[in-house]
Amino acid sequence: MTETSALPVEELVSIQPLLEKLVIDPAIIRVGIGYPLNHSDRHIDDMIDKIISESRRRMEPASGYKIFNDLLAEPDYKTLHFGGLDFRTEKIITVQMKKAVAVAVFLCTIGPGMENWSRQLIDNGDYLKGYIVDAVASEAVEQAVEQTHNYLEAQMRELGLGITNRYSPGYCNWPVAEQHLLFSLLPPGYCGIRLTETALMIPIKSVSGIIGIGPDVKRRGYACNLCDDKQCIYRKIKT
């Protein structure tokens, strides 16, 4: 039995992703900084290990979401309506959300510590170390979002509901400028994240997006095959 009526609609659910669960795999960082799979260099590997072990004390993860139950996919599959607003999510995302009955708008960050550290290293001419710190931070915020996604999934499962993959402005042809609309659905400065005029999040290592909810939706694995962008950086990394 599904319980869409029991959804915590328009309630802010704040979560603190657990630092001890942010386990960074050095192999992922090696690929992230541009090495081919299975490439190994002792000097670089040592540097990656040291940065990973120091990174935890520089992170302050925070996340949360708000559920809206007025989700509607327009028949042209280019627009999603939720929170009383229209979003130009374009075809790839809209099609994935068409069976959802509600949507969770989420934010997640690891705070400014890692990017400040990276910037400091680069400004002092230590480009490689700064670059590795940046790659570790990117992986950490992805894992923090994954924790948030898993939390939502567990909550919805109790109501007999499924969830979709997560989708963010700036990807799958959803204009990054729509961050402003998305952020208007959450309290100002929520999770310590603010937007610049050009729709960039500060701290940089933050993720925003939506996750569909409903009795007939499923979360799938990594889904580059859904997208038609053959030049996308993430497709290149994952393949």
């Binding site: 000097h43 680069i122 001419g125 490689l128 700036g170 990807y171 030049q231 996308c232 950086i233 290149k236």
Partner: protein, 221 residues
Amino acid sequence: MDEIIVKLAICIERGKTNKTSPYPPDLREQDGADELAKQAIEAGIDANRILGACMQGMQSIGEKFAKNEAFVPELLMSAKAMNAVMVHLKPFFQSGSVQRKGKFIIGTVAGDLHDIGKKLVSMVVEGNGWEVIDLGVDVSTDKYLAAIAQHPNAIVGMSALLTTTMVNMEKSIQAIKAKYPATKVLVGGAPLTQDFANKIHADGYAPDPQAAVKLLNSYVA
């Protein structure tokens, strides 16, 4: 005398910044780019030849990178070694005894915070004898226009990493061409293609840092 220059080019290519640098392991305890540049100046070697060693080292690593024989970390270590030399060459640039090939204004387009690809290009270009004016990330059209006004003969480079931000290049190029029709604009970044560069009327497309150097050099040849 030539031995220092040869060694210097090797240190740049291999990313050996100074004597205390642990990398690369086979050059441990040996003088790096910093010490060799200092020795070269003290030995009275023409600063242009020292810059030439930088260009040779950066060109070698840039070519290896373009052929997937070297990777981003190696390029970053070379850039660090090159910067150690540039510190010693600064007075020669200021006095005008070392001439650069030209000026290159570079930035990541509005809405995009990705820095590293742009930084790699700027470092390889600088190592190849160009003065680089790095505008940073999330660069607005107005910021490009202001930089061109300040450096009228400069060539402009734009970088983007997202398909949703690369479209901002077109607006910036239109504005630049409207105000400064003679200014050449190069574009690059992972999601870009030559077709896209043609479509937005960029003068050139550089898929990697070495390609940017080749394009820039072709404009001053």
